[in-house]
């Protein structure tokens, strides 16, 4: 049997995914050791290999087949736009991709004015403004603390993930429009899905069953 390789987006998502996997009998003890310097973790019994990667890299690993399966947020999948099978909504990590800004910017979104949009997700922002709203905008790519941009006048609005909205509120910003809902997803390489059909399908079925039970 070949190894199935699973890529996990580092951080909370990886932890929650591993908890789900444990419930269907897939363990990886090595991975729990916080001090380890290992990059790849194996479960010899089930012939599984796991590795942690930066979230934005997970779709890349899966698209090229370096990983057969990936667990990653919908935001990253949309932003990267890779050729993948997106097979399961894991139901956790729920949040929204939103257009946010000061209340005064609301008008600018209606008038089709040329505005500046700051975001960590330029592809998502571009797709939303060009193809959904048909508004010409200037997109500014930032790498963090995007909320700062409208406050210091770098942009009129931002496109960013909103979970509770408390950061926004504290800085006098509001959600102006919702782009799309987000959550953690399971993605599969298109070749692996076919070549390892049985094992991957069984995994998907087990996960789906678990999610159904937990939601009920």
């Amino acid at each position: 049997m070949r190894y199935l390789t699973i890529a996990l987006a580092k951080g909370r998502l990886a932890k929650q995914t591993m908890e789900m996997l444990e419930k269907i009998g897939i363990f990886c003890e090595e991975m729990k050791d916080e001090k380890t310097r290992k990059l790849i973790f194996t479960n010899e019994e089930l012939k599984l290999r796991f590795f942690l990667a930066k979230a934005t890299d997970v779709p890349t690993y899966v698209e090229y087949g370096a990983a057969d399966i990936g667990f990653v947020g919908k935001d990253t999948i949309l932003e990267e736009g890779r050729n993948l099978y997106e097979v399961l909504d894991l139901g956790f990590g729920k949040c929204r991709m939103c257009v946010c800004g000061p209340e005064s910017a609301r008008e600018k979104l209606q008038n089709h004015e040329l505005i500046r949009v700051a975001s960590k997700y330029p592809a998502i922002a571009r797709d939303y403004f060009y193809n959904v709203k048909h508004q010409t905008v200037e997109i500014i790519k930032l790498n963090g603390s995007v909320e700062l941009a409208p406050i210091v006048g770098l942009s009129e609005v931002i496109v960013d993930i909103v979970e509770t909205g408390s950061t926004l509120r504290e800085n006098g910003l509001v959600v102006l429009e919702e782009v799309c809902p987000l959550s953690a997803r399971m993605v599969v390489n298109q070749v692996s899905m076919k070549m390892e059909n049985e094992r991957i399908r069984r995994l998907i079925e087990q996960m789906r069953e678990l999610i159904r039970k937990e939601n009920a």
Partner: protein
């Protein structure tokens, strides 16, 4: 200025063993096509942009390399072979000569800058069967794909076959608008099970149709999925699609290639391009399909000739990548005979080399003016580098074999 030695991103040099292996694979591919009686066809590397426009090609306009001729016409480096072959066939093949069978090996160019590590110039080998709409034609193409790949030494691979008419039948029964159909097609193609479900909840479809669409992304695997699909609907178009796949499978058995065939009814391809079967070839180690093809009965019509057509293309570069990852060795002869000679040994050396060539053997000559000592020195160094090679030196009446 620093010397410019590297190639632009996405293109590369192929040399030495890799070159030999590539040529060997191309040779085996071509030989498989020829044994099926296909005729080679070479089309230009660039053509008018219109040949590859949206309905005809598989590559988006912005991903093509474009330039202009002196009259201001837009030209493109071919991103895909099929439209060129169709154009060429529409021009040269007489009605009474149909069906026509063509094969080709050539380079295609896609300007896809987003994907680093992906080549912009790849070599494709493929074939087109024009003027035969039968299931036998479909089977011949599949059998040829399998035999060509087996001939190249590939062992574990799958030709995954779909039939777009099944989806089209369901769409017709549901009366979906083109926009809705396109949206659904994208989600089914991405095997995005749950978003198909969300999408269907918004449509007001009968229970039977909803269930059928819901099942679509799951309908892949061996021949048994055809029975599952049959149970979902009795729309005549869908039934006909399944019947055609069953017939195809029977024909593949006659060709003895059924073990390589699997099915996927959720494989749909680009909007309205394919009209019947569609397939992709998968193997371990390459991460993406080695190639694929299908039936495009509306393509020839666009070049003013009504004729059904079925064909495929395999990426030689992807195939080589998969073979190297699977440690499959393709025997590719490199020159392993070397002869060093100087002025005094010239006459004998050249006579010897003529004799070798006459026997169809390869020998690489090195002229090394000077004393016998330097000659031996060089030959010895070569032998040390390539212990398995035959190294000769000649400074007198006849070549001597170098031993260490």
């Amino acid at each position: 200025m620093k010397d410019l030695l590297h190639t632009p991103e996405g293109v590369r040099d192929i040399y030495s063993r890799e070159y030999a292996e590539k040529r060997e694979i191309e040779r085996r591919m071509e030989s498989a096509f020829t044994r099926f009686g296909y005729e080679g066809l070479q089309t230009p590397s660039f053509e008018f942009f219109d040949i590859f426009n949206q309905e005809r090609g598989s590559v988006a306009s912005r991903d093509m390399f474009k330039f202009f001729d002196r009259e201001g016409n837009t030209l493109v480096l071919r991103p895909d072979m099929t439209p060129s072959i169709a154009r060429s066939a529409a021009k040269y093949v007489r009605e009474e000569d149909l069906p026509a069978k063509f094969c080709y090996i050539g380079n295609t160019f896609v300007n896809n800058s987003r994907y680093q590590g992906r080549l912009k110039e790849i070599t494709q080998a493929g074939a087109e069967l024009i003027g035969d709409g039968s299931c036998d034609a479909d089977a011949e193409i599949l059998a040829m794909v399998v035999e060509a790949l087996v001939g190249c030494g590939l062992k574990e691979f799958q030709v995954d076959v779909g039939q777009v008419e099944f989806f089209n039948g369901l769409v017709e029964a549901a009366g979906l608008s083109p926009e809705t159909e396109e949206e659904l097609r994208k989600r089914v193609e991405a095997k995005n099970f749950f978003s198909v479900e969300d999408f269907l909840n918004e449509q007001n479809l009968s229970e039977e149709l909803t269930n059928a669409f819901l099942a679509l992304p799951h309908l892949f695997g061996n021949i048994d999925i055809l029975s599952e699909a049959e149970a979902l609907t009795d729309h005549p178009r869908c039934r006909a699609a399944i019947r055609r796949l069953r017939d195809l499978y029977e024909l593949c058995r006659l060709y003895g290639v059924e073990n390589y065939i699997s099915f996927d009814l959720g494989m749909l391809g680009k909007y309205q391009y394919y009209t019947g079967i569609i397939f992709r070839v998968f193997t371990y180690g390459s991460g993406e399909a080695l190639g694929g093809g299908g039936r495009y009965d509306k393509l020839m019509q666009q070049f003013g000739r009504k004729a059904p057509a079925v064909g495929f293309a395999i990426s030689i570069d992807q195939l080589m990548l998969a073979q190297s990852r699977q440690h499959l060795f393709v025997y590719a002869p490199l020159c392993r005979e070397f002869l060093y000679y100087n002025e005094t040994g010239r006459k004998a050396a050249l006579a010897f080399s003529r004799e070798m060539r006459a026997q169809n053997l390869a020998l690489r000559l090195f002229f090394e003016p000077g004393s016998e000592e330097t000659l031996i020195e060089r030959a010895k160094a070569k032998k040390r580098q390539n212990p398995e090679a035959d190294v000769f030196y000649c400074s007198g009446e006849k070549p001597e074999r170098m031993t260490l």
